[in-house]
């Protein structure tokens, strides 16, 4: 089938062996690619109950059928069981790496086992090479990437790697995908580290073909036109995701000082115009993307002057800027880059550091326990020192490197009340206070409390969604239907696998047209949503198998305290709210009241057929 490369590469680091398998014929129509292929592979290959840092936990790099073509659908997906919370984890990354995996001839690459000493993999021309990485161990992600390319003597290789955080098994360590993109959440960098895998380099000389040339070009032109004409998209193009800051701040969704507040008077010094005038120099784009939301820039003033860096995304502005009260765009950019170099997820890091600063202010931590560090909101110097400690599990890093939930539990003395995480994943820069729908999205997210698995805020604030009116963030009605619908839609879109900034302009019809023209797979709107629903159910079955229970679906005490400011001032969650939302949600999904898919739902979705293992774990 065109669009796909038709092969999956398996690499076992323990034995050193590698082999190819043909992509099973049944997979494209049932699961499309990306997220869908990821869950199927993980379900089959992970022995139930495996610890995420055990060699048997597979690392799965997946592409979609549109990846690497002219279509604006350029993200890749890294799938594994997350060290941070033990759940299914699909972490998306843009850039130019996953395209190279397809050019090398593969729809997916699966890495299992553990090397006996640090290695990096070189994949090219149907050939896998193991190279010693002892001399790279300890280098940051930028240094690693440059060194690998220099050693290979070919700058056109695409490289992904970990920094010290992944080497030290920090549970929110990321995998860096050069240039400028990361698989951030869940600690997949630690999975790399547990395998003694420092980096993977790929280059490919094959070309991706499409089934219907003319209609593909036409569908892509339509997509490009939609992007150019969408005001939403053009906002991203000019001001990147930071363009969301004024909206978030006005409503009270922004994390401020460890989620103590939802808005800040400093918002204007942190907004897109500030970044643009002080740091940004030119636009940057992922492979094949006309939106170019990325920005390359240079810090020109202050203690970090001279650093060349890419832009601070909205989430990082929220969790580093807002949450840690760092209002200088220069300091934010430098902290962001430091996290990227050390290999730390900025969202989790902002949550963990925010927690630590509050603990310090409350006297639960002091200079003795912090090794002399005096922590306070806004003090970027001590924040940077703490971040280095975390990456190396030194000083306070020892307490914090396993995530905010674990850290708070160990600290005790009421600390869990202000550890802001849901289902074990540090909370992103959106509420949830102020949005009943977001609360539901977080407690039902497939990889934990993630903001990219259903984003009801836009519909709640504008009062409508594609099926009619939508109640605002104060009200619970309709949220079960809304959140489950969007989770299904995003699951299908993440199989292509799109960047959701593209979704701001490209219509769902056009995405389906591109898929049909590229592969011959013609899915109606309903069938497309069904694929998403099917994927979502498979993931819930996986999580249940791995020990997830619905009592994880709750919010910490901090989110039960009234939001102090913003349009949604006063909003807070109660246990009754969560219970009511979950009931609506489980009913909408055809799940029982413990969150388990009912047999009739699985039959309707054809999940039974998918339970037949297509791949064998070792």
């Amino acid at each position: 089938m065109k669009g796909y490369m038709g092969k999956i590469l398996f690499i076992d680091l323990t034995s050193g062996a590698y082999w190819e398998r043909a992509l099973p014929d049944s997979m494209p129509a049932a699961l499309i690619g990306g997220k869908g292929f990821g869950i199927k592979l993980l379900y089959d290959l992970l022995p139930p109950g495996t610890d995420p840092l055990d060699p048997a936990n597979p690392l799965i790099f997946v592409s979609g059928p549109l990846t690497g073509t002219l279509a604006p659908s350029m993200r890749g997906c890294l799938v594994s069981k997350a060290p941070l919370n033990g759940m299914f984890d699909d972490s998306y990354f843009g850039g130019h790496f996953i395209q190279e995996v397809k050019y090398a001839g593969y729809d997916a690459i699966v890495v299992t086992g553990k090397a006996c000493s640090p290695v990096y993999l070189v994949i090219s021309d149907d050939h896998v090479e193991y190279r010693d990485a002892a001399h790279l161990w300890g280098l940051d992600t930028y240094e690693t990437c440059d060194s690998v390319k220099a050693e290979l003597g070919d700058a056109t290789f695409r490289v992904c790697c970990i920094g010290p955080a992944g080497e030290n098994l920090v549970k929110f360590a990321l995998v860096d995908f050069e240039p400028h993109r990361q698989a951030g959440r869940g600690g997949l960098g630690a999975v790399f580290g547990s395998k003694n895998l420092k980096a993977v380099a790929v280059r490919g000389d094959k070309g991706i073909e499409v089934a219907h040339r003319e209609s593909f070009i036409e569908a892509v032109s339509q997509a490009h036109k939609q992007l150019a004409e969408s005001g939403d998209t053009q906002e991203f193009a000019k001001y990147s995701s930071v363009s969301l800051l004024p909206f978030s701040n006005e409503f009270g969704f922004l994390p401020v000082r460890n989620f103590q507040d939802g808005s800040t008077s400093q918002a204007e010094s942190m907004n897109a115009a500030a970044h643009e005038s002080r740091v940004w120099m030119r636009h940057w784009a992922c492979a094949g993307c006309p939106i170019h939301c990325g920005k390359m820039g240079m810090i020109k003033r202050g203690p970090y002057a001279g650093a060349i860096c890419d832009n601070v995304e909205y989430e990082s502005v929220g969790l580093i800027g807002g949450n840690l009260a760092v209002s200088s765009v220069e300091a934010m950019a430098f902290i962001n880059q430091t996290c990227d170099k050390l290999g730390l997820d900025t969202i989790s890091t902002g949550g963990v550091v925010g927690f630590a600063i509050e603990a310090f202010e409350r006297g639960l931590l002091d200079e003795t326990s912090s090794g002399g560090l005096k922590l306070s909101f806004g003090d970027h110097r001590s924040i940077l020192k703490l971040i280095h400690q975390i990456a190396h599990r030194e000083g306070l890093g020892g307490l914090l490197a396993d995530g905010v939930v674990e850290g708070a539990e160990r600290l005790g003395k009421g600390a869990p009340d202000f550890a802001c995480a849901i289902q074990g994943l540090e909370t992103p820069a959106w509420g949830p206070r102020g949005s009943a729908g977001m609360g539901l999205a977080y407690v039902t997210g497939d990889r934990g409390g993630c903001h990219q698995r259903g984003f009801p805020i836009g519909y709640e604030t504008s009062g409508s969604w594609p099926k009619g009116e939508m109640a605002d963030g104060w009200h619970l009605e309709g949220k079960g239907e809304l959140v489950s619908w969007e989770q299904n839609l995003l699951a299908a879109l993440y199989s292509l696998t799109i960047c959701e900034f593209g979704r701001s302009g490209v219509s769902y019809d056009t995405y389906r047209s591109m898929l049909a023209a590229a592969t011959g797979l013609s899915l109606s709107e309903e069938e497309f949503l069904l694929v998403g629903e099917r994927i979502w159910n498979l993931i819930r079955l996986f999580n249940l198998r791995e020990g997830w229970t619905q009592d994880q679906a709750r919010v910490p005490q901090r989110f039960k305290e009234a939001l102090p400011s913003g349009v949604m001032k006063g909003h807070a969650f109660t246990d009754e709210d969560i219970a009511a939302l979950l009931e609506q949600y489980n009913t909408a999904r055809g799940w029982d009241d413990s969150g388990r898919p009912l047999a009739r739902t699985l039959t309707r979705l054809g999940v039974d057929a998918l339970m037949e293992p297509l791949f064998e774990g070792k």
Partner: protein, 75 residues
């Protein structure tokens, strides 16, 4: 009557007469305000007046605080 206005992002770049304080006729609507600031054909994603989402046809009150946003979906 007078309303205070905050216009965000590329809408601010597009507005011909962006101003913090707009003088409007009594009973003016949101639509009138959009025309007055010169947003013309650009359709904002969301308009908030005194903390509540409003539509083009809604009337504005004297002293209303209006925020005009280009984007409201996540990332």
């Amino acid at each position: 009557m007078v309303v205070t206005v905050k216009i965000h992002g590329t809408l601010k770049d597009a507005a011909v007469h962006p101003s913090d304080r707009m003088e409007l006729a009594d009973g003016a609507t949101v639509s009138d305000l959009l025309i007055a600031v010169g947003l013309g054909s650009r359709v904002p994603a969301l308009i908030i007046a005194d903390g509540r989402a409003v539509r083009p046809g809604d009337r504005l009150a004297n002293g209303a605080q209006v925020s005009i946003f280009a984007r409201v979906s996540g990332g």
